[in-house]
């Protein structure tokens, strides 16, 4: 009887210690709920120029951008003109682009990236070769 009690006690202690070892003992961090936000940027791009739109993200997170439309000033849809699309950060009077693609317009996101917490910009620019101004529409998503 005495031995059984000793063995049971030892097993109970061992079990409690094992459970404790599986717990790190740190209190959980509060979870910040971030909302996915969709924004539009429409403007006219001149040959040789860069246009940008600034936004903020509350924490390191993913973002995507779709160059959805390129239309000439006469209303003709241009499905072949290649334009630069990028993410970056506002600096001086421009947007310093840190990740980019050169693409035609389309209805799938051409650019997906990882943005650190803070202020960023989505930029549309002439990568070289534009001869006439173009109206563009960009739809981009980021956490807010």
């Amino acid at each position: 009887m005495m031995r059984l009690l000793l063995i049971v006690t030892a097993l109970l202690v061992a079990s409690a210690c094992n459970n404790a070892a599986q717990n790190t003992g740190t209190s959980p961090s509060p979870v910040v709920q971030a909302t996915l936000q969709t924004e539009f940027y429409t403007d006219t791009l001149q040959p040789g120029a860069l246009r940008f739109y600034s936004f903020s993200v509350p924490s390191d997170s993913t973002a995507s951008a779709m160059l959805g439309s390129i239309v000439r000033l006469d209303g003709r849809v241009d499905a072949t003109q290649r334009i630069g699309l990028g993410f970056g950060y506002p600096s001086g009077t421009t947007c310093t682009v840190t990740q980019s693609v050169v693409t035609t317009s389309g209805l799938t996101a051409q650019l997906k990236g990882w943005l650190t917490k803070g202020v960023h910009c989505v930029a549309i620019y002439d990568p070289g070769g534009m001869t006439v101004p173009l109206n563009f529409a960009v739809r981009f998503e980021h956490f807010f």
């Binding site: 063995i7 079990s15 959805g68 439309s69 239309v71 849809v77 209805l107 799938t108 739809r139």
Partner: protein, 139 residues
Amino acid sequence: MRRTLSAAAVLLATLTASCNSNSTTPIITAPTTSGTTSVFSGSIVTGGTATRSFDAASAGTATATFEFLDQGGVPLQLGLGIPRLSGSGCFLSRAVTVTAGPGSSVSTSVDPGAFCVQLADTTGQVARVAAFRVTISAP
């Protein structure tokens, strides 16, 4: 002694089983969707446009087909794009000039999200007002 050890072994097994919390998680398979088809119908005036928004539930191909116009042989512009925030109008990504009938369509790849179809009389050949029908298929 033998009974003591047996009882301890049973107890140890019981404790171990109660501490293990390996539960199997059921695997949930998302149902496959075959896309949606909708009809966009209305009237268009001389030099006018008609726009309809639609949603793509998943990535795939969206197609707009110009089925019918009650003024034969009139060419119209049929396009796919992203809807304006104001809700009226469409920023076009792809557009073709078509007359109503078989093969008069425009298609493009889409992500999940909101898109739009636009029918436009860019040449001003519609006589006053014409009734039309467009079929939209989206993933």
